[in-house]
Amino acid sequence: MYSRVYSAAVRGIESCQIQVEADVSDGMPSFDMVGYLGTEVREARERVKTALRNSGIVIPAKRITINLSPSDVRKEGASFDLPIAAAVLASLGFVPQSSLDDTMIIGELSLDGSIRAVNGILSIVDAAKKLGFRYCAVPKENAGEGAVISGIDVIGVGTVDDLIAFLNDRNSILPEFINIEEIFQDSYKIYESDFDEVNGQQSVKRATEVAVAGLHNILYIGPPGSGKTMIAKRIPTILPDLTLEESLEISKIYSIQGLLPKESSLILKRPFRAPHHTITPIALCGGGRIPHPGEISLADRGVLFLDELPEFTKSTLEIMRQPLEEHEVNISRLSGVYTYPANFMLVAAMNPCSCGYYPDRDRCSCSQHDVGRYLSRISQPLMDRIDICVEAPRVDYAEIAGVRKNENSAEIRRRVSRAHEIQKIRYEGTRFRFNSDLTAAGVKKYCPLGDEEEKLMEQIFGKMGLSARAYHRILKVARTIADLEGIDNITVRNLSEAACYRSTDRN
C-alpha cells in the first residue's frame, strides 16, 4: 500500500517541503530508501525498523520502499526518522492517510521508540504554516519552540505511540500554547549588566551612544584594561527592545544551530557575540559543506564584538566586508544559494600598538613605525566601514573606586529609541533603515548642510586630508548626532563632534 507524509528540510534559515513516500508490497523482504540521501538519512532505516519493533509494531516480511522527494534536494540530518516511520505506519494501515495530508511531521527516533529533539523547528513550523498545514507534529522537547508561530497547531509527541494516537484521534494531544505577549512583557529586565556600572570614560560612552543611535560600526582604541570590553558588553542594553519579528528572525537562526535556551522558546535579548580572534572565516561568516550560520548571523539584530581586532587573521576580517554592506550572507553551494541574515552592529576593540600603551612613552617602547604597522593590520576597506573610532583611555584609581551616579541604560535607551524612531520615519519606503546605511547619494539627500556648515566641512576636508568616504562618514555620524538632539538640520557643533569620531586614516 502507498502512503505519503509531509516533512521539511532547512535551507538557510527558511525551510522547504519534503515528501516522504512509502510503499509496502509483496516480494523479497527488504527496506530500501532512495531520494538523494545523506548518510544520516540512510541510517534512518535501522532506527525506524528498531523503533517501530520496540513500540510493539510488527513489520511484516514485505518489500518496503521509501522515497524522499524532491529528489534534487540533498536530505541531511536525523529529522526525517519520524516522517519515515509515519509513512511506514500509514502504508501498513496503522494510521489513516487522511490525517497525514494536513500534518507536517518532524523528529529523530531513538531505538526504544521515543522521539528526540531536532534543530531548526522554528523555521520548519514557520514554513508549515506558510504552506497551509493545520498541524505540525514535532518532538515534545521542541514543542514550545514551535508554538511561538501562531496560526498552526503544534503537537508535541514524545514517542511513536503518541504519534499513532494523535494521527488516529486529533483530540488525543492538545496543541502546545505559549503566551508570547507575556514572554515579551517579561523580557525587559533581563540584562544582567547596566551602563551605570561604568565609571568615567565619558567620551567613550558618548561615542557609543551616537554609534548605537545610528547603528554605526564603532572601534575602540585603548590600552589593556581600559574598559573597552565592559562598555561593548553593555551595548545591547541600550539598543531598543526587540520586536516580535526581529525576535523570530534571531530565534530561527539559533534554532537551526540548536542554541535556543532550554527555558525560553524565543531569543528575547539582543545577541552579543564575542568570538575569539582565532576564529576561522567559516565560523565567523557561516559556511561548511552543509552550510550553517556563522557568528555574524548569530549576532543578527545585536552586537558582534571583535576584541583585539588586529589579531584576527586578514582573511577572517576581509570576509566580513560584503555582509557589512548587504546585512546578509550568501553562501553558494552546488545545491543552491543559502542566505543567512547578518544585521549586526560591529563593535571592535584594539590596542593602539602591540604592547598596548602608546602614546604613554613610559610604558611603550614601540617605534612610530611599529605603531603604524600595527594599525595597518586592519585593511582600509574594513576601516571604511567603521564610522566611529574613539579612544578609551586608561582609568585612574579615583574613577574606579569613586561612587558616582552614572546614567543607567534605560535613560540612554530612551534617547536612542527616539533617534531610531526619527530615522524610521525619515527612511520610510526607502531601502535605508539607519543613518549608517546611507549611500553617497543618500548622504546628499538626507544630510543637507547650511552655508556655515558647508564652510566648516570644506575646512575639515582640506586640513585633515579626508577621502571621499571619510567625508561621507562624518556627515552620516553628524546626521545621527542631530537625530539624537531631535533637530532637523545638522549644525556646526554636530559636524565638529562627528569629525572628532572619524577613524584614523593612515597616510
Binding site: Q202, Y358, R361, S365, Q368, H369, V390, S496
Partner: protein
Amino acid sequence: MENEIRNRNEGRNRSDNSNRSDSSNRSDDSGMAMYWYWICNLPKITNSKIKRLLDCFGSPDEVFREDLKDLGKMGILKEEDIRRIEDSRRGWDLAQEYGEFCKLGMEFVHIGDDRYPERLRSLADRPYCLYVKGRLPEDIKPAVSIVGARACSEYGRRMAEEYGRELAASGVQIISGLARGIDGASHKGALLAGGSTFAVLGCGTDICYPEEHKRLYEDIPERGGIISEYPPGTMPLPYLFPARNRIISGLADIVLVIEAREKSGSLITADQALEQGHDVFALPGRVTDKLSCGCNRLIKQGAGIATSPADILAEFSLECKKNNENYIKTTNSLAKEENLVYSCLGLQPKNLDEILTEVKADIQQVLHVLLNLELKGYIEEISKNYYIIKR
C-alpha cells in the same frame, strides 16, 4: 723611510693647496685615492689593522707594493690577514675598481685628502676614509650633533625638530644618524629651516636605513650629506652602529642629547663626545619620565642644560635668529572657551577624557572647540583622541 713618505705627502698637499686645478696633481690625487680605496675595502681588515700597516709603511701605495712577509714574523699581523692582503693585491685592478666606485656618484674621502674633516683628524680611532653622498660638513662652520631615543615621546620629537630648525636657521650644521625618532626629527627640522644637515649611517651610503626615512635620505644630500665609513653595499648590521656614533660626536662641536633612557646608545655617544673633548648638552625632562632619565643624569654629571636653542647658540657666540618667544602662538585671537581648552594642553599628549575633567564643559562643546583649534593650527591630534599643542 716613513719620514721620506711623510715629506712626499706634505709636498703634494702643499702643491694641491696652491693650485687645485692643476691636472697632474689631480691625477696624482686620484692615484693615491685608488690605493686608499683598496686598503679600506680589504676583507676583514679593520681600522686598527690598517693603522698597524700604515705605521709600518707610511702610505697605502707602499702597502700595496711592499713585501709583507716579515709582518707575520714580527707579530704585527696574523698570517691569514697577510694572505688576504696578498690575495687581494693579485685580484684587484686599482683603476677599474675605483672607476666603478666613481660611477656610483659618491665621493671617496680618505684621510690624506684635504677635504677630510679636520674635526675627525684629531680622533684616536678616526676612520681612514669616508664615503659621502652630497658633501662633508665645513670645518669653519659650527656643528651640533643631535642624538636621542628612537622610540621617543611626542615631546622629544617636537623638541628635536625645534632645535634642529632653530640651530640650522642660525647657520649651525646639524649632524645626526638618520635613525627613527629624535634623529629623523632633527634632520627634518634642519631641512625645514633650509640649513645644512648631515647624516652618518651605520651602513653603506647607498642604503636607506630605516626605510621610512626615504624622503629625508633623498633630501639631505641636497643640503648637506650622507656620510658613512662603510663601503657602498654594506648592510645595516647591529654591530656597525655603535662605531658610527664616534663619527657623529666627532663631526660636531657640541653634542645635544634630546631624550635618552637609563641605558641608551645616545649616552654612549655623549661619553665619546666627552672623550673627544666636545661639550655635551642635554634637554631636561620630568624626573618621572623614563625617557628623560638619561638626559637628567647627564645634567647631574655636569652636562650643559639646553632650555632653548639660544643656550647652544650662545656657545658659538651666535644670536638666535628668530626670537623663540615668537614661536609660542599668541592666544589673543582665541575665544574664551578655546583659550580654556588650549591652556590645559601641552607637549605631553592629553586625551579627551582628561581634557573633559579639567575643562568641565560638556563633551560636544569640548569636541567643537578641539576641532576649531585643530583647524586653526593650534593643536594636533597625534593619536586617536590624544592632543598636543603645536609650536
